[in-house]
């Protein structure tokens, strides 16, 4: 089973040492019946500082497992993950995370949510100032004193994005952050995220099901194989921003990714049915 791996000559010049090195990382889980599920097999990825990497793959391909390990919520069964040369040892404020279901603290106001991560490093006044700046950047300045309960899903996710960026982490991990939003809100948030990213150049690792979202956002797309997850395709996306989803180049890139994914989807389904009949 040959894995198509396009080692890219990355075009941007300003990029230095790898910010994240994922070296031969495997992950196995034990299921309830004492069996072993191999989520990720010997995966190696180098991510450079300032890259916007989007990971796409069939469900159960281990992409969330990978992100959880990057976040420090889980550790590899074998292999190593290093961020700036340091092994990961639990969650850290330098690796911010944006979750699919927003994870805002409902007992805090919007601004207190954004200030949450600034408590240790900033005085109260300074924290308020930074938080307000970020809220205004995501267009929610006037909602600072509201509680998250009163916001729509898209607004909640903008607060969560502001909250993560406000702490100025080196790496931002995004776990299907726009997965629960409607198409229009999703597009709006993608544009906002790109704008913030182009101004602040964080290293972003972004997970999604959506091929269109991947091509729209990424400067590098990684496609995972069906379980056990490995890198199937690692491709730079060199389309200039703002990208048009209707342009021929966009469609062409999408098609390449879809074809790679289709092969894996077919495997996922045959895997599922084999599982079903074997016991």
């Amino acid at each position: 089973m040959a894995i198509v791996e396009q080692v890219s000559q990355y075009p941007e010049t300003s990029i230095s040492e790898p910010a994240i090195t994922i070296n031969r990382v495997s992950k196995q889980f034990h299921d309830d019946e004492g069996g072993v599920i191999e989520a990720l097999r010997s995966t190696s990825i180098d991510i450079k500082e300032g890259e916007f990497v989007v990971v796409v793959g069939p469900s159960g391909c281990g992409k969330s497992t990978l992100l959880n390990m990057l976040g420090g919520f889980d550790s590899p069964s074998s292999g190593q993950i290093r961020v700036d040369g340091e092994p990961i040892n639990g969650p850290h404020i330098q690796r911010g995370m944006v979750f699919q279901d927003y994870a805002l603290f409902p007992w805090l106001t919007v601004i207190d949510n954004v200030m949450f991560g600034l408590r240790k490093t900033h005085s109260k006044a300074a924290a308020r100032e930074v938080a307000m700046k970020w809220l205004e950047l995501v267009g929610l300045g006037e909602f600072a004193q509201k509680h998250p309960l009163h916001l729509s899903g898209g607004m909640k996710q903008r607060v969560a994005i502001a909250r993560t960026f406000a702490t100025d982490p080196k790496v931002i991990l995004m776990d299907e952050p726009f997965g629960a939003l409607d198409a229009l809100t999703r597009r709006f948030l993608q544009q906002q995220l790109l704008k913030i990213w182009s101004e602040h150049r964080k290293t972003v690792v972004f997970i999604t099901h959506s091929v269109q979202e991947a091509v729209y956002l990424a400067n590098r797309v990684i496609i995972m194989t069906a379980r056990p997850g490995q890198v199937k395709l690692d491709a730079p996306i060199n389309l200039p921003h703002p990208r048009k989803v209707t342009s021929a180049e966009f469609r062409e890139t999408e098609t390449t990714i879809f074809e790679a994914l289709d092969e894996e989807m077919a495997k996922t389904f045959s895997l599922d049915s084999a599982d079903g009949f074997s016991d």
């Binding site: 420090g72 639990g90 995370m97 979750f99 994870a103 603290f105 409902p106 009163h150 993560t164 702490t167």
Partner: protein
């Protein structure tokens, strides 16, 4: 007669985004009026049925006094200070025991929710003791503590302890793990900091429900405890009324219990809605 309080609640629901710009005070006074209305109506309805029963059955007043007689006694007792003093005694007994329950029960609940070992050790004990009504403890309480204050505090402690512990356990266990993860990626160390900044506030609404429920169970139990062994309190007022064949006094005590119960409960609800 249609319930008037239904009408103003409608626009509240339509524009909750815009109404939240109205100050808290405005909303609070509205809800007090909204909530008080039905209770006043209920009292009037009970009085009407009661009066009809008296006209129809014509019972001796020592068995069933008229609403107006009870209302007169109520006012008399209120003005003489007898009713407020006894109500105060009962309330303070419940409050003291309830605070002790919270001080012991909340940390215990957190421990059970966080530690497997503690859960395995403590949970069976709680499950065994929980079905025993606090009233069943009254004889032992009298044996152990006599009819003084400590016996009553003990009974109310039993009555208020379990709802507080169980709701705390439930609240801590139900904290969304993603909130804990968010807290960790925002710099909380995995210990007291994460507990006080994320876990406890996330569980607080559930803990407050436990506090509210337990005040109710405590309030019901104090009356029973005072009926059996006390020389003050609303329960004593009722028991005394029965002994001197003053059913109007008994009913005044009962009405006071109901009114105070509703008032305290609504204060808790108001408090909970402010926090959550």
């Amino acid at each position: 007669m249609p319930d008037k309080s239904d009408i103003p609640s409608l626009p509240d629901r339509i524009g909750f985004l815009s109404t939240s710009t109205v100050g808290h005070a405005g909303r609070a006074s509205k809800t007090i009026a909204q909530k008080g209305g039905p209770y006043v109506l209920a009292l009037i309805m009970v009085a009407v049925v009661w009066q009809v029963a008296i006209v129809a059955l014509n019972p001796p007043s020592a068995i069933l006094p008229s609403p107006s007689k009870v209302a007169r006694t109520f006012i008399e007792e209120l003005l003489s200070g007898e009713l407020p003093i006894n109500a105060w005694v009962s309330l303070s007994r419940v409050t003291i025991a309830w605070i002790i329950s919270a001080v012991v029960g909340i940390p215990l609940g957190v421990l059970i929710a966080r530690s497997r070992v503690a859960e395995k050790l403590i949970d069976p004990v709680i499950e065994l003791f929980r079905p025993i009504s606090p009233l069943a403890w009254i004889p032992l309480a009298i044996l152990w503590f006599g009819i003084g204050e400590s016996g009553k505090i003990f009974i109310i402690f039993i009555a208020t302890f379990f709802p507080i512990v169980l709701n705390t356990v439930d609240g801590i266990k139900r904290v969304d793990p993603v909130l804990l993860r968010a807290g960790q990626t925002l710099g909380c160390s995995n210990g007291p900091e994460l507990f006080f900044r994320v876990m406890l506030p996330a569980a607080l609404p559930s803990i407050l429900v436990g506090m509210r429920i337990s005040f109710g169970t405590g309030w019901a139990a104090i009356i029973a405890a005072e009926l059996v062994a006390a020389n003050s309190g609303l329960g004593y007022l009722i028991a005394d009324g029965m002994e001197i064949l003053r059913s109007d006094l008994v009913m005044v005590g009962m009405i006071a219990i109901g009114i105070i119960g509703v008032l305290v409960d609504s204060i808790f609800k108001q408090l909970a809605s402010r926090i959550a």
